[in-house]
Amino acid sequence: MSVAALKQGRERSQGAGLDLALPYLLLAPSVLIVLAVLVYPLWDGLRASAQLYRYGRPIAFVGLDNYWQLWSDPQFLNALWVTVRFVGLAVAFETVLGLALALFCLREFTGIRLLRTVLIIPMVITPVVVAIVFRLIYASDVGMFTTLSMAFGGGHVEILGDPTKAFIGLVALDVWEWTPLMFLILLAGLQSLPQEPFEAARVDGAGPWRIFLDLTLPMLRPVLAIAIVLRAIDAFGTFDQVFVLTRGGPGEATRLVSIYGYDTSFKFQETGYAAAMFVAIGLIVLAFALFAVRLLKRIEPA
């Protein structure tokens, strides 16, 4: 074999090596970033959840003790119950209202584009700003409800000082802000439905309510399920609105798990216990998502 042929063969084999390594080299930056910003913090959180912290420092390995403690902590159980009620109520209202608005905006009439745009505005406003505005609306001294009530000869309207009203007020804030998201997803879902079955139903004399129950709802179910799952996962993590509006009060009426976890970690410096709390909540949300996905798979063929 000539020297030139040997050299060409070596170059080819070197090229083959590079070809083999290239995909890994190209993937490496992304993998490293994922490891640094996702896997490591997750691992660190898991590690912290198995430690007892005092004065901001880990002092002992306690295994699963922090997790067991959660289930005998009345404050955590209350926060979890408040969170579940909040997510359930808020997402239910947002779904019903979002669907109603999507059905209404499905029609074409003058000004519909403007209306669709206006309807999504709440969603794009910063949640903290929304919470500040709602706090001003609910305020018992100078709030909108109090002002209106006094204009009609009534008295002060106390919303944030009453546990039930404060909770409803928080749900109302969330519904106002996030119904547009449900509206947007469901409108896209409705627009993607085939028209033939609807035309056939109309020809057969079916009324709008019958069409909605027998056609629209079953055909929209997969989209509806995705929207509900996404919104519920997001609602589980609600923090900023509560932080600004009520800080979890009055009493513990609006203290979501996110607020309790934040206080536990940063105010009380029980880092290990807070980590266990967030891991447990993560697992609960994951279980909910998996359940919803399985449900979705069962629904899809319909």
Binding site: Y55, E158, G161, G251
Partner: protein
């Protein structure tokens, strides 16, 4: 390629070269510590939470410090986020600050974590007679007096922080409702306040903060102290639910709520401030940051009608101390400058300037100035003499306050049951402190 194109290429290259040159120069100069002339000043990065009590420091003392050769960077944040931000900075050794202006209940947390410099070892004299004793005592961890938490029973008290701006609760009252001067007792506050309401001068005799957690506990505390309550015994057993404490809580959630604005359960400092400055309320107990707004026409509708006095008493007239207190993190990038700054700042001359600027000083000599910058300063000294106590010196105060605040807030919603709420809170606090190893 046209001549124009070529010209544009050259110019782009020149710009790139120039940019690279500037970047390289600034990087090298940063690494080598070379900088413009002003960089010779002694840099000090101060972290603080936003509060009106620091306004005189910002407006008058920082310019003075600059004259002394300090290059002060003053970084302000919302109160709610500073504790975690600074604690993370100190623990991770990030070195973003040279000086933290802490709220004094945070001193045990930072002290126990061992993240602050020993200022005594650095030459700050904690035994100087010029300090106001209750204030300098708050700078030590573990505390020089009173019970100590587990793990620090035998540790030597170390000066980890020094008082920065003195502050304590005082009474702000309407001088047309209380024409004979500050009401001396709580009964007088309510009785004369009701007369003021009947005369149409005010709408409510008192206002306070009712929000769960720190706000309601801070508002209740001077009432609790006035009734002669004590929070813990020397073994950290809660004693706030003693008969005296319960009487204070019943008075607070009952009589005081009945004489306060309707939504007081949800009131925080902005709403209580609006009630007193807007002319609705007759009296309030508050810290200096809000009290000083009384004389500011842009903030108060009642300029000239609001006076200051010692807090009302039942048995005693004791206020809560709550000062700004300065600590130097071990990770401070300009540690020596920060300590030098503190020595200068706490010197008699600077404290006098601070008092003249309108802040409550932290040394006796500061109170001796002829012309204090506001009329609250002599009242603050009267209150210090009448009695003022800090909150219990434990790193777990935030949790204790939270547990108590929730129960007090629930009782306030109901308008009764203050004493029973204290029993529930005491049980929860005991359980928490047991878990934290206080009684082993």
């Amino acid at each position: 390629m046209s001549g124009n194109d070529s010209g544009r290429d050259v110019s782009r290259r020149t710009i790139l070269k120039g940019g690279a040159g500037i970047a390289l120069t600034s990087t090298l100069s940063t690494l080598a510590g070379v900088g413009p002339a002003w960089a010779d000043a002694k840099k000090v990065v101060i972290g603080a939470f936003a509060d009106g009590g620091l306004t005189p420091f910002k407006e008058k003392i920082i310019p003075l410090a600059k004259e002394q050769g300090f290059d002060v960077t003053f970084l302000e944040d919302e109160y709610g986020v500073t504790l975690e931000k600074w604690f993370a900075d100190a623990q991770s050794g990030a070195g973003q600050y040279d000086l933290y202006l802490l709220d004094d209940p945070w001193v045990p947390q930072f002290g126990a974590a061992g993240v602050l410099e020993d200022l005594g070892a650095a030459g700050v004299d904690g035994n100087s007679k010029d300090w106001i004793k209750p204030l300098i005592d708050m700078g030590y961890w573990p505390p020089r007096e009173g019970p100590r938490v587990k793990g620090f029973e035998t540790a030597k008290p170390t000066l980890v922080t020094v008082p920065f701006v003195g502050d304590l609760q005082t009474l702000t009252y309407r001088n047309d409702v209380y024409p004979n001067g500050a009401p001396g007792t709580w009964d007088e506050v309510l009785e004369k306040g009701k007369a003021g309401v009947a005369a149409g001068k005010i709408k409510y005799p008192v206002v306070f903060r009712g929000v769960s957690g720190n706000p309601i506990v801070t508002s209740w505390y001077p009432v609790f102290l006035a009734y002669g309550g004590e929070f813990f015994d020397d073994k950290w057993r809660p004693t706030f639910n003693s008969p005296k404490g319960k009487a204070a809580a019943d008075f607070f959630v009952g009589a005081m709520k009945q004489n306060a604005p309707p939504g007081v359960v949800e009131f925080d400092s902005d709403q209580e401030g609006a009630a007193i400055l807007g002319g609705d309320a007759g009296a309030i107990i508050q810290y200096s940051g809000n009290a000083l707004k009384s004389d500011d026409p842009s903030a108060s509708k009642e300029v000239g009608k609001l006076d200051f006095g010692v807090v009302p008493k039942k048995e005693k007239a004791i206020a809560q101390l709550g000062i700004f207190i300065a600590g130097v993190p071990k990770s401070a990038p300009h540690k020596a400058n920060a300590i030098e700054f503190l020595k200068w700042y706490t010197s008699p001359a600077t404290q006098a300037k601070l008092a003249e600027a309108g802040s409550i000083p932290v040394t006796r000599s500061g109170f001796a100035v002829k012309d204090p910058g506001n009329r609250l300063i002599p009242v603050a000294l009267k209150q210090l003499d009448a009695g003022a106590e800090p909150r219990p010196r434990t790193p777990d105060w935030a949790k204790v306050e939270e547990l108590l605040g929730i129960e007090l807030n629930k009782a306030l919603q109901a308008g009764s049951g203050g004493g029973a709420a204290l029993d529930v809170a005491a049980a929860k606090v005991t359980e928490y402190l047991t878990q934290a190893g206080y009684y082993k």
